[in-house]
């Protein structure tokens, strides 16, 4: 099966020729009423008692609701005020053509990135990513620490705020400099740890289209065996700069990832609407972003996290919908409340990984401490998620079994979501020079892992 692009130029052209609509009516008169209508029509209902539902009818209804919603609403280009719309036949054709797997990375470090069905017994593909900004001098040690993780199938590095001591400002030469520094340093770090061909997703520092384009280079920069992301605007919107990325990624030839984060409590409302929007975003990712995989992080509007009960339901239900009805490859990105070196963050990572893995997602772990604080993330949070993801597949866990475990784990922290501990900085819980965790954090990690074993989780080693 051919990979994307699928009718890219015809679709991009719709951002100039589609039906005219201003931003406000797009949300108020199109997005919100249609979402309400499909929630009602398909009888979608959130059940707090089952953060990991095992109802195939619910999953399939969510898929149909998401498809109908996407077809009715489309995607607004905010620069042209034109709606990119689709025929149902096009969506079905694009879905039919999805190959369901890609060989990513290169040489000995290449890995098969695959679509996962619900209750898959194959382990998830895990991308280790701190998802935060860091000091310039910590970029390499942090990257090396993540690249050293044995379960990392791919790595996405932290984001730079300064380059050569200069504060990076979007769409200025400092952003280009920071993006090049990011791409080069990450490539160098991968070589240093002995994984020169590992699948890299870069560069988060390159927020703008020009910065992304500036780092496409098969020697020192982002290679065609690597990947980069293209985002959306809240909600179901895009602009010309993002569309520039879409075109460039395809023409350069790297793997494109669709980066979307529907907001629980935002225009989508509560769990039901957020789950439907998740499905719609996957279709947008395939057709507008022309993405080879989807990376999604639904999050709570107040807490910027997705480890609470209602968000775990959104993640689980929507991934089941996608896994059962398509061959799309999807990553579930953990957004956790607590910070590094706390028990809470490790339990949150475990719950997120369980709900995601059993529901057919791959893992992208983890944004911690509300994804807000510089230098505040370490590979151990991601390691916990990865180990739990592997355990879930290893023990052939069913959704019912996962639901029981998730209930027990969530009970450990759900009362503390609003005032979660911020934890420690990378430099406080890691030996920075060696890029390895300190004993205190490793001991804490072991205690939490033992507790998870007590609860019934069977790790492969």
């Amino acid at each position: 099966m051919p990979a994307p692009p699928y009718k890219m130029w015809e679709i991009l052209e719709r951002a100039r020729t589609g039906p005219f609509c201003e931003d406000e009516p797009f949300i108020m008169e199109r997005f919100m009423p249609q979402l309400k209508a499909v929630i009602r029509k398909y009888g979608i209902e959130y059940d707090p008692a089952t953060p990991v539902p095992s109802d195939d009818h619910l999953a399939d209804a969510l898929w149909r609701a998401g498809l109908e919603f996407f077809l009715e609403v489309g995607v607004l280009c905010v620069d042209t005020h034109r709606i990119i719309t689709f025929e149902e036949g096009e969506v079905k054709e694009a879905l039919y053509l999805v190959p369901g797997e890609y060989l990513v990375g290169s040489g000995k470090d290449a890995r098969l990135l695959k679509h996962r069905p619900v209750e898959d017994t194959n382990p998830p593909f895990v991308i280790f990513s701190p998802d935060i900004t860091c000091d310039e001098e910590l970029f390499s040690p942090l990257s090396i620490a993540y690249l050293k993780e044995p379960l990392a199938d791919g790595v996405c590095a932290p984001i730079l705020e300064e380059s050569m001591g200069l504060k990076i400002k979007a769409q200025t030469p400092t952003e280009l400099a920071g993006s090049i520094e990011h791409a080069m340093s990450l490539r160098q770090a991968a070589k240093l740890v002995g994984r020169p061909g590992i699948f890299l997703v870069a560069a988060g520092t390159a927020e703008s289209d020009i910065a992304q384009i500036s780092i496409s280079h098969s020697d020192w920069g982002v290679r065609t065996s690597d990947s980069r992301l293209v985002g959306a605007l809240t909600e179901l919107k895009i602009d010309n700069a993002l569309l520039n990325k879409v075109a460039h990624y395809q023409q350069f030839g790297c793997f494109a990832g669709s980066l979307t984060g529907p907001i629980y409590g935002g225009y989508a409302g509560r769990a039901e609407g957020t789950a439907i929007l998740q499905v719609a975003y996957h279709l947008m990712g395939l057709l507008v972003h022309q993405a080879h995989y989807q990376m999604n992080f639904p999050f709570h509007i107040h807490y910027t996290s997705n480890s609470s009960r209602e968000l775990l339901w959104v993640i689980s239900a929507s991934h089941q919908a996608i896994a059962r009805n398509s061959k799309l490859i999807s990553f579930s990105n953990g957004f956790l409340n607590a910070g590094p070196a706390t028990e809470m963050v490790l339990y949150e990572a475990a719950a997120h990984a369980l709900a995601s893995t059993v529901s057919g997602a791959n893992l992208w772990e983890a944004a911690v401490a509300h994804n807000k604080y510089k230098n505040r993330a370490t590979p151990l949070e991601a390691r916990m998620a990865a180990e739990v993801g592997h355990a879930c597949a290893h023990m052939n866990l069913t959704r019912e079994g996962a639901n029981e475990l998730v209930q027990k784990i969530v009970a450990k922290y759900e009362e503390r979501v609003a005032d979660a501990p911020l934890g420690s900085l990378f430099s406080e819980c890691y030996d920075v020079a060696k890029a390895v965790p300190r004993k205190e954090y490793l001991d804490l990690y072991a205690r939490v892992k033992d507790d998870l074993i007590e609860m019934g989780l069977e790790f492969p080693y």
Binding site: M28, K169, A170, T205, I263, G265, H302, K372
Partner: protein, 217 residues
Amino acid sequence: MAHDELFSRMAQAVIDGEKERAVELAQEALRLEIPPLEAINKGYIVGIQKVGELFEKGDFFLPELVMGAEAMQAALAVLEPELQKRQEVRERLGTAVAGTVEGDIHEIGKRLVCTMLVANGFDVLDLGPDVAAETFIEKVRELKPDLLLLSALMTTTMPEQKEVIEALKEAGLRRKVKVMVGGAAVTPSWAQEIGADGYAENAIGAVEVAKGLVEAF
């Protein structure tokens, strides 16, 4: 219909986000020759304050907030001409100009803050996303707001908050307006570093900070 019952229905129309009902009730108030200021204060303001409270409690989210604000605005549009005829003015806590800084196209957080401020008695002009420093300066000079709200989601657009503050100084306007900054990546230390007057973690906190700044102004 007794006036109290009418006021209660006005409040409920805002809570339910029922724009048409809110407008009909405003028209009914005019027919009954109820003073528009009384209808606003005892009906619609009560409703929007309740919406704000429910948002704070986590029972309401953005859709309810936006729909409630829209219902109230629609009703006010019916009552404002009569207010002007009577030369009456609605009581306001303060005025604000808000926008996401240049280079940043994110705006949901800012919208939440603006809506919550409106719900709490502020008059807010939302300039939208990707707003140039000169536009902020122009609006501060023209409207003389109590507050200027600068939002930035990304670390790479946060420096623009600082540049707007510097531009205010250069234009001789810095002491004439209180500056609040916010956004996903913004922290209290950043707010302090760039010389902002206020920072809040979220929309609920922003209302308290705004009230405090206006009182102290």
